[in-house]
Amino acid sequence: MKGKVWKYGDHVNTDVIIPGRYLDDYDFKNMAKHAMEDLDPRFAKDVSYGDIIVAGRNFGCGSSREQAPLALKHAGVGAVVAISFARIFYRNAINIGLPVIEFDATGMFEKGDVALINMEKGVIINETSGRTSRFEPLPGFLLEILKEGGLVPHSAKRFH
């Protein structure tokens, strides 16, 4: 996957990823228009399909709202690369098919750089600067869930 980088700091919480006031709307395209609104009002307006978020520690801390990764996914985000994730966000992201990578990429990217990621091989490249790094790929069964588009299609296999 390939996309331009949006860069954020530590402890980006679910309330700024998608504020509670928008959670009654189950139309995720509508909801995605408010993604990151309280942290970065430009994000939802300027994000393009496939863009990549690079962040610091404890990304997605706070509530269990699955709308947080859903809002990012429906806004077009292709992957989130963070030093660490809050555990529920991490699970939710995989379960809804949003790739998450636990890796400190904060030093190798500036906002707007183009990132290229290979999930299976564990390679991340900054196409703008030419820097390449390796990360520990996700365990096989999580990669499989992601490849199938999330836990719903993955679980559906058992019942069809």
Partner: protein, 416 residues
């Protein structure tokens, strides 16, 4: 073995060690409003029926009564599903906050493995259950299969010694711990709270501790069953239960010994829960609103602590004091005991039991530039309304004292 290992070993049918990923059988699965999201995924998965209707508990608490048409539609879709599936454990919007209602109604027993589509599901650890928050989609998989993959957590133990001086309570203790550990200081860990301070705590206080353990990243928080647990469960459940505790030689990653003697009331500054300072360092900050309630601090003893500060006195007109009992049981107790009337006489607005304004949906949102001191659990930017508002977190006594003074105040001084 640790408590976490024991519960997850039983639930997965094999010896579980920290770091293992196990498929665990779930004993209890809770969802509130976001059951609307769960059932959407559940239908997409294509399972014919839920795995065990007895093990699912549903209720509404986040937006009750429905605050928007969309919220009403969400409620409606869940009600229809409950009817068509004939789910027996559905409380609609009558009972209050999930984390208060499930223990009250006897659904939570020591040693259980519980998941809920709410991050504060860790609250049930106060009764010795292993209990954690999950997302809506994985809950759909739980409804379909009764199982969920879980990583067996390492354990942090907090050995809390000394004695708390009234009016310092569980909320001050957990805020203090979060301040020390940081918002991700216990990421992926099971946090055990033990020691004389915990032994002396009511179940209500232990719920506050386990509830907010997740604000330092914990997967689960637990206090181990004792006579208080037995007393609490008496009359609420007729089911047999056996306490599960960590072995003496359990593989605990780290033990934190903390002497809490002399601990001051604590306050978390905006905009992160780990931005904690003793109240004496921040008195005098004016507040527009004060909120007493939530799954963290909306119980009987919380309302009582607030009433003891406010008794016979009136808050200034410049402050809006919103009181949200955590459940109908708490509401009725407060009504019957006269606490409710006393709070109203002091100038409080009392809402129906539920989550209230905590998550910024309704019942007391903040305008730009406004400040609120609340007994709730999160002070993230925009949490309770405008992104330009501020939320300070504190105990019921500190919030009541601050409401009375119109500014952040030390409850030790206001009481004296």
């Amino acid at each position: 073995m640790t408590f976490a290992q024991k519960v997850l070993s039983r639930a997965s049918g094999k010896e579980a060690y920290p770091g293992d990923i196990v498929s665990a059988k779930i004993d209890l699965a809770m969802s509130h409003e976001n059951a609307a999201l769960v059932l959407r995924s559940f239908k997409e998965i294509g399972a014919k029926e839920v795995w065990d209707p007895e093990k699912i508990v549903l209720l509404f608490d986040h937006r009750i009564p429905a605050n928007t048409t969309k919220a009403a539609e969400g409620h409606q879709s869940v009600r229809n599903f409950v009817r068509s599936e004939m789910l027996p454990n559905f409380y609609d919007l009558r009972e209050g906050i999930c984390h208060q209602v499930l223990p009250e109604k006897g659904h939570v027993l020591p040693g259980m493995l519980i998941v809920g589509t709410d991050s504060h599901t860790t609250t049930y650890g106060a009764l010795g259950a292993f209990s954690t928050g999950i997302g809506a989609t994985e809950m759909a998989a739980v409804w379909a299969t009764g199982e969920l993959w879980m990583k067996v957590p390492k354990t942090f133990r907090f050995n809390l010694t000394g004695k708390l001086n009234d009016p310092v309570t569980a909320k001050d203790v957990i805020l203090h711990l979060i301040g020390k550990m940081g918002a991700d200081g216990c990421d992926y860990r099971c946090t055990e709270f033990v020691g004389p301070v915990v032994d002396a705590m009511s179940i209500s206080g232990r719920m506050t501790m386990c509830n907010m353990s997740m604000e330092m990243g914990a997967k689960a928080g637990v206090t181990f069953p004792d006579d208080r647990t037995r007393d609490y469960l008496k009359g609420r459940t007729s089911k047999e239960w056996v306490p599960v505790t960590s072995d003496k030689d359990a593989d605990v990653e780290k033990v934190f010994d903390m002497d809490l003697t002399g601990l001051s009331p604590q306050v978390a500054y905006p905009h992160s829960v780990d931005n904690v300072k003793p109240v004496e360092e921040m008195t005098g900050i004016p507040v527009d609103q004060a909120v007493i309630g939530s799954c963290t601090n909306g119980r009987a003893e919380d309302l009582l602590a607030a009433e003891q500060i406010l008794h016979g006195r009136h808050i200034p007109d410049s402050v809006r004091l919103i009181v949200v009992p955590a459940s109908r049981e708490v509401y009725l107790w407060a009504a019957d005991s006269g606490i409710l009337a006393s709070l109203v006489r002091s100038g409080a607005i009392v809402t129906n039991p539920g989550c209230g304004p905590c998550l910024g949906a309704h019942q007391g949102l903040l305008a730009p530039g406004e400040r609120c001191i609340a007994t709730t659990n999160r002070n993230f930017r925009g949490r309770m309304g405008s992104p330009e508002s501020e939320v300070y977190l504190a105990s019921p006594a500190t919030v009541a004292a601050s409401a009375l003074k119109g500014q952040i105040a030390d409850p030790r001084e206001v009481r004296a």
